[in-house]
């Protein structure tokens, strides 16, 4: 079995969003999807040159769509009801769909709730099972000011990503103890 290698890594915050051109409809996305897309964009991978059905997407998050859920709940009694496009983003796995649509990817996907630990293990298993030859791994987590105030959690907005591939040269050969994408991205991006 060829080594699993990380060929690109990224970390983004909301300050990084204007570094990229996402087009007219980017504003419709919720913060989780915006950050997730930015983290993937920051990897600098030309996905058009990859076999689209061989690129998997694994996403992990601590709070998922919680911030959008809170906003939707707050706005539910507005005239006409809460925004329909907001409702779409009350699904924690939406970021996978947005990444897949933007880059035309049709490989396997996985969404993990409850933290970043285990994301890389799951992605590596996906590659070892020959379900894909590469995998975009993304951790993104948002607790908006409104959600922080409502649910008494610390506000946060951050995302990081790695591109995991088989049998190529790269930044870092994935080790058995590389389970958590956050410290790994911090190490690879400094």
């Amino acid at each position: 079995m060829a080594n699993l290698v990380i060929t690109a890594a990224s970390i983004v915050t909301p300050d990084d969003l204007n570094r990229f051109q996402f087009g007219m409809r980017f504003g419709r996305l919720d913060s989780v999807c915006q950050l997730g897309l930015a983290a993937v964009e920051a990897l600098g991978i030309d996905f058009a040159s990859q076999p689209r059905d061989q690129v998997g997407i694994c996403v992990a998050t601590d709070n998922g769509s919680l911030s959008t859920d809170v906003e939707y709940w707050r706005r539910r009694n507005e005239p006409g009801g809460a925004s329909p496009s907001l409702f779409v983003y009350t699904l924690p796995s939406m970021v996978i769909g947005e990444i897949a649509i933007r880059h035309g990817l049709t490989g396997p996907t996985l969404c993990l709730m409850g933290g970043s630990d285990g994301l890389l293990t799951e992605a590596a298993d996906m590659l070892r099972r020959d379900e894909a030859t590469a995998c975009i791994c993304v951790y993104c987590d948002v607790v908006s000011a409104l959600a922080a105030e409502t649910i008494h959690l610390p506000a946060t907005a951050r995302a990081c990503a790695v591109y995991l591939q088989r049998g190529v040269q790269g930044l870092h050969v994935l080790a058995a103890n590389d389970r958590d994408i956050i410290p790994l991205c911090a190490k690879l991006c400094t």
Partner: protein, 86 residues
């Protein structure tokens, strides 16, 4: 210039959170869906909510609103017609 049409353009940009586009760049006669602005079915629902919120017009059947959502001009005409009917 049609003031209502211009107001609609501003509201649509704001409601649909369209980026990098100004009201002046939206043609009154251009299709809102598909080509033109490239809006989709979720945007259609958003426009239904916008009509209720800002103009007090309730569309219970999306088919009723379909001709109205063809362009800015048709949407302005639809609002005027609904406002003037008893």
């Amino acid at each position: 210039m049609d003031a209502l049409a211009n107001e609609l353009k501003i509201r649509i940009i704001e409601t649909l959170k369209l980026q990098d586009i100004t009201p002046a760049q939206i043609d009154d006669e251009a299709p809102l869906f598909g080509a033109g602005l490239g809006l989709d079915s979720i945007d259609a629902l958003e426009l239904v909510v916008m009509l209720e919120k800002y103009y007090g017009i309730v569309i219970k059947d999306i088919e009723e609103g379909r001709p109205a959502f063809a362009s800015i001009s048709s949407l302005a005409a639809f609002i005027r017609a609904r406002k003037s009917s008893p």
